[in-house]
Symmetry: C2
Subunit: 301 residues, 2 copies
């Protein structure tokens, strides 16, 4: 047998073994432990925000694939220092925490004041990875794309980010183009999916949800604080790319377009941990929290 033939045979056997599906374990902790380095990605520092409040840091990943104009406007605002020393103005129980300029007087600088809503987009090129077989109350299809929970309407072939816990949105007034990213909110309760396609979602909190979710609730309508002293000041907001590499947060997000992630979703569906007496065998979109690595990942059984 020639060495060339041997090389071909080796290549074929490699193809065969890679075509054979890996056997994934059953529990989510085991799935995470069985992942390879290639199942994880480092968030793009250009699209990663650090929101510093109360001596703690909230790390946010922006979603330029879904809201490119809002993301660009937010980057512009952050780089102008727009958010520094502005406060958290609203905390409504089981709903959202929101920050921005309570007086509406701060200069937007080179950022746009009005932006058309980026409520949904054509699905082409936005394949819903790991589409859930479990169905959804609000949409024809749900799943994940680039680490974000998404929904899809089959008739119109449109897809959009969904209001799951930890999602970041750009608040707006009545007019469809009145949001610009200067007023931002994060979901802190049961996912208010009725807001989908009515507000532009711009990203997802990766770390620090505990800091936002435990802020005292405002007592005015919609959870706004009754007076300025109750607001939590924002120390600063930065873009990770603007910091020297050694000062950036080191974290990895599980890729959502992999067999590993499909196995993770399956583990959330089947719940084979011995504690479960009657696993539901179903999983809802917002009950799949895309794993973050290099942090204690609490099991929620």
């Amino acid at each position: 047998m020639s060495s060339k033939m041997i090389a071909v045979l080796i290549a074929l056997s490699l193809l065969a073994s890679s075509a054979q599906a890996k056997q994934w374990p059953a529990t989510s902790a085991e799935v995470i432990a069985a992942t390879a380095d290639t199942d994880w990605r480092e968030p793009n520092p250009e699209h990663t925000l650090y929101l510093d409040i109360n001596g703690g840091r909230v790390v946010i990943e922006l979603a330029p694939a879904f809201a490119p104009k809002h993301v660009a406007n937010i980057q512009q605002l952050v780089r102008q220092g727009y958010f520094n020393a502005l406060p958290i103005v609203r905390s409504q129980d089981n709903y959202v925490v929101q920050w921005g300029d309570p007086d509406g007087t701060r200069d937007l600088g080179r950022a746009a004041e009005k932006l058309a809503g980026e409520y949904d987009r054509t699905t082409s090129g936005t394949r819903t990875a790991a589409a859930l077989v479990d169905g959804d109350v609000y949409a024809d299809e749900v799943g994940f794309h680039l680490g974000m929970p998404v929904a899809r309407d089959l008739a119109s072939d449109r897809s959009w980010l969904t209001h799951c816990y930890g999602m970041l949105g750009a608040g707006r007034a009545e007019a469809a183009d009145s949001g610009n990213g200067a007023e931002l909110y994060v979901v802190i309760g049961h996912s208010p999916r009725h807001l989908d396609r009515n507000v532009t979602l711009v990203g997802r909190v990766l770390l620090g949800m505990d800091l936002l979710a435990t802020l005292p609730r405002g007592t005015e309508a919609l959870g706004f604080y009754a007076n300025a002293t109750q607001r939590t000041p924002i120390t600063q907001v930065q873009i990770a790319a603007d910091l020297p590499e050694q000062q950036r947060e080191r974290l990895l997000v599980m890729r959502t377009d992999t067999e590993a992630f499909a196995a993770f979703v399956a583990s959330r569906r089947t719940r084979t941990e011995s504690w479960f007496l009657q696993p539901t065998g179903r999983v809802e979109l917002c009950n799949v929290w895309v794993p973050i690595r290099s942090l204690a990942q609490d099991d929620d059984a």
Copy 2:
């Protein structure tokens, strides 16, 4: 025409008008404003708990129709003063807050140590009021019964309380009968419906969710606090019926077996408020929060 005939005609015309369905307005604020006193009920004080922490009060309605033995055991524990000066031992972000005896040494007195799980019940007599037409990821049918969110399996004709935000459950260890109500948890995040029928739900928080949801998160596995000083002490737990009437909280809960409630659910589905650009026209079970009266009811649009 005799006066008797006139009386009969008037009675008939009254019957006709009452048989004509009332036209309900479209928004939830308008529906609530249009309700009659008979659309509301006072929670049974015998099944109402006051949990006092941090100078604030959490009001809980128990669900004896679904978990009679657990409710009776909890009443027994409360009346023995079992929970007084015990702490909140766990706060896990986007999941649950839990209280009980961290050392497991407190005497259960006349309360049972083991109780068979009350995970579901026959649906007979448990008509799912206001069953949602919107579907559900986890169950064949969902709706409300006696103010509580419920799900139903059609094949087995079983129904059960669901893990929506604010629901109260009796924690258990591995054994199915290891829960007894001495260890209680409340859902503070996106509804963990995978726990349905795996833990006995025993009631629902009516007021004070903000007090529980803003407790600092524990940093140990499952959100347990790393040390005792981080725990929040419980001042006392009382049954409303054990207090003089004038010392009880005055509140009303919207009945869930009325046309008014059906109209309220419809208002959450259709979202006709002018702010909405593309109302979903769907509503998920845990996105219907049964209204409480005589309190500022924040609109969450």
